[in-house]
C-alpha cells in the first residue's frame, strides 16, 4: 500500500513537471512518462471520488426543468444503461431528419426522427446503424429484415455487424418491438411510435454500451 502511494506521488510529481512549457497536448510531446503519470493521477482521483462528500443531490425533475429553461432548442434525455448515467442532451446540428444531440462534455447521440443512427465520444461508439425496417418501425407494422450496425473497432477500422430483425407490436399498446439476432447475441429495441415519430424509445447501441433509453423533452 505504502509503495503504491509512493509511486502515485512520484507519478503526480512527474506529471506536474511535465506541465512546464507552452507546448499543447496536441503538439505533443508530453511523452509516455507524462501521459502515464497523468492517467495514474486521474485514476487515483477517480478512485477517491466516491469517498468525497457527495454534492447535494438535485432531483431529476429539477435538472430537467433547468435544462428546459436554459436551452431554447430541442432536448432529449438519454439514459446509458451500461454507463450508469442519465444525461440531458441538446441539439447541436440538424441535417434533414438527422439530428445530433450532445452533452455538455460533447458526447453525441445522432438520431433520425428518433431512430438511433450513431454515437460519438463514448469510447465504444456506434459509427452508423442501417435498419432495413425503418419504414415498418415508423408505421408500427410487423415485418422482417436486416440491420447493419457499423462500429469503430480497436484496430482503427469501421466494422459492420449484420443482424436479422423482426418487428411486431409489443405487449404495451403503442409500443413497437424490433427483435434482432446475430453473432451469438440478441437485442430488442422498443419504440413508442406517434405519427411516424418516436418520442420515447429504448435502443441497443452495441455490445459494450448496451441500451440507451431516449426520451424527448422538447421536440
Amino acid at each position: 500500500m505504502n509503495g503504491t502511494v509512493k509511486i502515485t506521488l512520484a507519478a503526480a510529481m512527474l506529471a506536474g513537471l511535465s506541465a512546464c512549457g507552452n507546448t499543447s497536448a496536441d503538439e505533443g510531446g508530453a511523452g509516455p512518462l507524462a501521459i502515464l503519470a497523468q492517467t495514474a493521477t486521474q485514476a487515483v482521483a477517480a478512485r477517491r471520488a466516491p469517498d468525497a462528500p457527495a454534492a447535494p443531490a438535485r432531483s431529476p425533475q429539477d435538472t430537467v426543468a433547468e435544462a428546459l429553461r436554459v436551452n431554447p432548442g430541442p432536448l432529449i434525455q438519454a439514459g446509458f444503461e451500461n454507463l450508469g448515467r442519465t444525461q440531458i442532451m441538446a441539439m447541436t446540428g440538424q441535417n434533414g431528419p438527422m439530428r445530433t444531440f450532445m452533452t455538455p462534455a460533447e458526447e453525441a447521440v445522432i438520431l433520425r426522427d428518433g431512430l438511433l443512427v450513431g454515437t460519438r465520444g463514448l469510447g465504444n461508439d456506434l459509427s452508423v446503424a442501417e435498419p432495413q425496417l425503418e419504414a415498418a418501425i415508423r408505421a408500427g407494422a410487423s415485418g422482417s429484415g436486416s440491420r447493419i450496425m457499423r462500429y469503430y473497432s480497436g484496430d482503427g477500422l469501421e466494422r459492420p455487424l449484420q443482424f436479422a430483425c423482426r418487428t411486431a407490436p409489443g405487449p404495451n399498446a403503442g409500443v413497437l418491438v424490433e427483435s434482432c439476432e446475430g453473432h451469438g447475441i440478441s437485442f430488442q429495441n422498443n419504440y413508442m411510435v406517434q405519427g411516424g415519430r418516436i418520442p420515447v424509445s429504448r435502443q441497443w447501441i452495441g455490445p459494450a454500451l448496451g441500451y440507451v433509453t431516449i426520451q424527448t423533452l422538447r421536440p
Binding site: G21, L33, N95, G118, R120, S127, D155, G156
Partner: protein
Amino acid sequence: MRRSRLIRQLMATTLPITLVLGSGSGTATADPLLGRAMSTYGLPGGIDTPTAETLPDGTLGATLSWSDYARRGNVFFQALPGLTGVLRYARVDGINDYRNEGFISDRSLDLRYQVLGEEGWRPAVAVGLQDFLGTGVYSGEYIVATRSVTPSIRVSAGLGWGALAGKPRVIDVNDNGGTPNVDQWFSGGAKPFGSVSWQVNNKLNLVAEYSHDRYQARYSNGREFQQGKEPGSKLNLAANYQIGRNYSAGIYAIGGETIGAQVTVALNPREAAYPSGLEKAPAPVRPRPSPAADPEGWSGAWSQDPTAQPAIQKALGDAMAKEGQRLESMALSANRAEVRLRNLRYINQAEAIGRTARLMTRALPPSVETFVITSTTDGMPTSSVTLRRSDVERLENTDAARIAAAASLTDAPPRAPGLVPTDGIYPRFRWSVKPYLDLGIFSAEDGLTHEVGAEARASYEITPGLVATGALRQRAFGDIGQRGPAIGLPGTRGEYYTPEEYEADPSLETTPEGVPRVRSDTRMYTGNSSPVIPEATLAWYAKPTSTVYTRVTIGLLERSFGGVSTEALWKPANSQLAFGAEVNRVRKRDFDQLFDFRDYEVTTGHVSAYYEFTEGFTAQLDVGKYLAGDVGATVTLAREFANGWQVGAYATKTDLSADEFGEGSFDKGITLSIPIGWATGQASRDRVSTNLRSLSRDGGARLNVNGRLYDRVRDSHTVDLYEGWGRFWR
C-alpha cells in the same frame, strides 16, 4: 460498471510501459485453434514443449519465466495468422563462460508456422525452429500436432530434434552466431514429446507434458555444462491462471524437482480499451439554407468583399484549432475553397479530414461547392482530398465507404493560386521542460539499466518548413555510467576500456579488426553529470514538385554525430511505391555532447525503395554506405494496423565480415511502436516506440537523424489514408 471500466483503462494504460520494461506476455481465449497457455519459451504450448496452437493474429506480448534452469524474457508476436515469432533474452544458469559468473546471457529467436488448422478429425499441425540463428543452448526443431479431445482437453504430440530430443547441438565457441545453420536442422536423431492440457474453467489451465530436454550444453572446446539440476524424470506439470483479459501467471515443476514460475502479458492491437477513442464528438454538418433564404450567399457576390476571406479564415481556423488541427492557409473563391491543414491530434488522417470537411460546411458561404482539403506536414503539402459539399451534406453519418467513393485523392501542388497564410501562425516558438527516463532493457551483459533526468526542449518554426530544434538534458540519477568499448582482444573478453584509457589513445577508436568505432563506444556518451545537448538542428523541408519532397538538416543531428543530412523522396499520393535518397556528411561528436567534435568524419547515404502492400504490410530496401564506411543493404518488413500499431523486423548485411562485425555476424532487430491513444483512448499522435537490437555494433549503423520524410508524408497518401478512412465521420 464504473469499477471495471477503470480497471480496464488502467490495465490498458500501463501495458505499453510494461512492455517496454520487458515484462509480460499473453495468452488466449478458448477458441479452438488458439493457445490457452504459454510455454516457458514464450509460445503457446505445454511447459517446455511446443504445441501446434497459435495466438490471435497480431498478438504482441511477453512471457517471463524463472526457474533454476534459466530466467527467460520472451517477446512474442503473431506476425501472420499462422506464423508466430519469439525473441528471447535468457540468463541460462549453470554455464560458465569467460566471465566465470555461473551463468551466460543468451539471445535467441524462434519461429513457428501452423501448417494446418484443426478441422474435423484432423489435428492442427505446426513446424517450428527454436533458437535457429546460430547454434545456441536451445537450438532444436520440431513437428507437432494438436487436437481437441473434448472442449476442455487438448492433446499434443510431436517429434523434436536437438535440445528437444535431449541431444543439444555442439556450440562452436569461435562462431559469432546470428546466421542460420541450416545443415543442422532436423538432424541428429529425433525423440517424441507430448502434452495434455485441461482447461478446468475460464481461468485455470492444467498441463502435463513428456519432455526429453535434459538441460545440457555442449561446446566445441569439449566443455559440457548441466543447466540447473538434471531432471529426475521426463514428466513436467504446470498450472496457469488467467487474470483479466491481458495477464496470466503460472507455476510449473520440471522433472518433479525443479519449480518455476512465469507471468505473461499479451496485447491484441484489435482490443483497445476504447475502440472508438474518447475524443469529443465532431461538430456536425450544417446544411445550407435554400437559395431563396440566402440569395446573396448563393450568388457568390460575397467573394468580391475583401473582408470576407479574413473573417471566414479566422473563424474556420479557430474551430479547427479546437479539433486539434492547424489551418495553415486557405484559398477561397465564389465556388471553391482549399484549406491546408496540419493534423496535430489524430492517428488517422481521415478523421482530421472528415472533421475539417464538416467545419467547412459550417463556415463557408453557400455558393462554395468544391472543398479541397490539403494535408500538410512540416510546411509541405502532402495530398489533397477533393469533396463536393453536397456529398458531405448528403452522406453525413453513413457508411464511410460512400464518402470515400465520392472523394478524390490527388497530389498536392507545392503552391496554389490564391493561398493566403493564416495570420499569427508563424513564427511559432514552443518550449517545454520535462523529465526523461532512459532504459537499457535487453543488454545481455548489463541487465536492466536506467537513467532519469530533466530535458528542456525548444522548437522555433520560423516559416512553414524551416524549423530550429534544440534539446538540453541534465541527468539526475541512474546506473548507465560512462564506459569505454569492450577491449576485444584475445583473452580480454568481458573487459572494457576505462573512459580515461579510451580518450587517451585515439588509435582505440578503431577496432582491432580495423572498423571505425561509430556505435560500439556509445557508452562513452552516457553518464555525463553536466548538461548535454542531445540534439540542436536547423531543418528545412520543401516540396519542389508535386511528387518530390526534400529535407536538409544541419547541426548536432544525434548524440554521436553532427553535420549535414540531406534527403529527397519521390512519393505520389496515389502510389504504393516510393523512392528516396539520402546523403549525409557527418563528424563524430565529442563525448561531452556539447559543441566539440572528434576526428572521425564520413559521408554516408542510401538509396531506398519503399512499398506499401495493402492489408497493412510494408517493405523497405536501403542500399548504401553506412556510418563506419561499410557498404551494404538493409531489408525491413513491417506490419501495421490502421490504429497505428507497427511491428517490424529488419536485417542489414554489409561488406564487413562476420568477424569484423563481431557477435551476431550482422545487424538485425525488431521495431515496435504503439500509439498511446490506443491504450488511453485519448486522441494523440504520440507513440511508445522501441527498437530491440544489439546497440553496440559498428557495422550496418545508420545516422539517427530526426524528420526522415517517408513516415511524415505517407499518412495522407493512398494506403494509410484509406486504411483509416473508417474514421472519416468520427
